[in-house]
């Protein structure tokens, strides 16, 4: 087959669709993750002197906007209300088709916009970065785009009560866009290390120093890493390779392997250094591990067994 035809078939497959069960389940999990991490946004460091601009909105909106104490509270409230309404949309069919069309178009966009503004306000008032807010933001954007572009089909299906069985509702690009967004951040993590320190980043000494300064003495990896630089070298080099190859998760057969590696990496970071990335761990499990296919295969197997008996 000619390469151009292969590419065309590949690109066309982005528009393939499925029933929205996976999309809606993952959306609810994403909503839970976003609400959970948004509770951590605060203005506790506002008495520190203003530093630099660290958000795109920081260049668009005046600096005083980020200093106002009630903007964070307002956008947190707006985000929570809009995202909860978004999660409930499949059950709001009684509102009628026009209301539903407006809700499916506006509410998801309002959710992602209010989340972005809320976290931008938080970052503009922090004396460090909080990277765990980034991935949920991008996955949320892909899901908002899903609802926006498919608003007519989604609204009609909800109102006609065939939302869950309509196999034309969840496009492949939403799923792959989410996988891509998660993998890309980890890939950048590997690239950043290479750019800042070259191949020498993974030689083990700096990991031993970080663990020595911040490591939890009760966690077994702390002792293991400090006991010999060879162990630290193995972990540090392994992390760089794993992160730099994260985009290979776009290949379905490699996705679970990379997902498990990244989950192990994030869990180790939390248990060793006490830096939690639980939202990312949940999203890695949801989008990289084959739980949905396994459950569906199990249900099909049980149904088949029941029919034969």
């Amino acid at each position: 087959m000619m390469l151009s035809k292969k590419i065309r078939i590949g690109l066309n497959s982005l528009g393939d669709t499925s029933a929205p069960l996976f999309g809606q389940l993952t959306l609810w999990i994403l909503i839970g993750v976003c609400i959970y991490i948004s509770t951590e946004a605060h203005l506790g460091y506002q008495d520190y002197e203003k530093g630099t601009t660290v958000s795109l909105l920081g260049y668009v909106l005046p600096e005083t906007f980020f200093d106002l104490p009630y903007t964070l509270v307002f956008f947190k409230g707006l985000f929570w209300v809009s995202i909860i309404v978004w999660g409930l949309l499949p059950f709001l069919g009684i509102t009628g088709i026009w209301t539903m069309k407006v809700l499916t178009a506006v509410v998801p966009l309002m959710s992602v916009l209010s989340y972005t503004i809320l976290v931008s306000i938080f970052w503009e008032n922090l004396p460090w970065f909080r990277h765990k807010f980034v991935v949920p933001n991008w996955v949320l954007l892909y899901y908002a785009m899903w609802y926006f572009f498919c608003r007519h089909e989604i609204s009609e299906s909800i109102v006609n009560r065939n939302f869950w069985s309509n196999s034309d509702l969840y496009p492949r690009w939403v799923y792959l866009g989410s996988v891509f967004s998660i993998a890309l951040l980890y890939n950048f993590g590997g690239v950043s290390k290479m750019l800042a320190a070259g191949l020498g980043w993974g030689e083990g000494l700096s990991l031993q120093l970080w663990v020595s300064m911040m490591g939890d003495p009760d966690f077994f990896l702390t002792d293991f890493i400090l006991s010999d630089r060879v162990n630290a070298h193995f972990f540090q080099r392994g992390v760089t390779i794993l992160q730099s190859l994260s985009l290979l998760a776009m290949i379905p057969n490699l996705r679970p392997v990379i997902g498990l590696g990244l989950i192990a990496f994030q869990s180790s970071v939390e248990l060793t250094f006490g830096i939690p990335f639980r939202g990312n761990i949940i999203l890695l499990a949801v989008f990289f591990l084959p739980w949905f296919g396994t459950i569906q295969a199990l249900i099909a197997y049980i149904k088949k067994k029941a029919e034969t008996h």
Partner: protein, 178 residues
């Protein structure tokens, strides 16, 4: 075995693929823009929320100093009161496009030297004296403090530990001035 949801091929009534439809093209163009921004902006600016190059732990260390400050009565004092703390040992501020640092400025510290090796430079005796004495000027109740600088680094090819430790008695300039 399939991993995520099972997708079925989308074709319209004319057997056209997704990209041949106006709606498909619109969605694809939008996707292209989003993906382009996701890839390109972090490469240029590194950290500009919601764009991020995930710079945590990006800067490696060869050695690092930690400090203990003790009052004349033997009580241990906060090192940040003397600007001797490490603000973010794993997440140093990045320098891109004329921007350096975070949304809010971290408390100043002797440890924050340069952007390429933010915490790897070990302050000299003179630097530590200058730093601590400048802070002691605002603490007239302390005639002096005892500062211990411990340099953490490689002991051999396998282990890290305290490479050297120096202790200085630093007088408060307020109490020694005539």
């Amino acid at each position: 075995m399939f991993f995520g949801p099972k997708f079925k091929v989308q074709e319209n009534e004319f057997k056209e693929g997704w990209l041949q439809t106006v709606r498909g093209r619109k969605q694809f163009q939008c996707l292209l823009v989003v993906v382009f921004l996701q890839i390109s902006i972090p490469l240029v600016v590194q950290e500009l929320y919601p764009f991020s190059a995930a710079t945590m732990f990006a800067y490696s260390l060869d050695q690092v100093a930690s400090y203990n400050v003790v009052a004349p009565n033997g009580k241990r004092l906060s090192r940040s009161s003397f600007g001797l703390q490490i603000n973010n040992p794993h997440d140093p501020p990045v320098m891109t496009q004329g921007r350096y640092g975070y949304g809010r400025m971290s408390p100043s510290t002797i440890q924050q030297i340069g952007s390429n090796a933010p915490y790897g430079n070990i302050a000299s005796r003179q630097d530590v004296f200058r730093q601590v004495q400048s802070r002691l000027l605002t603490m007239p109740h302390l005639p002096y403090v005892t500062v211990t600088q411990s340099v953490l680094g490689p002991l051999d090819n396998h282990h890290v530990g305290i490479m050297r430790r120096q202790t200085w008695k630093i007088m408060n300039p307020k109490t020694i001035q005539p």
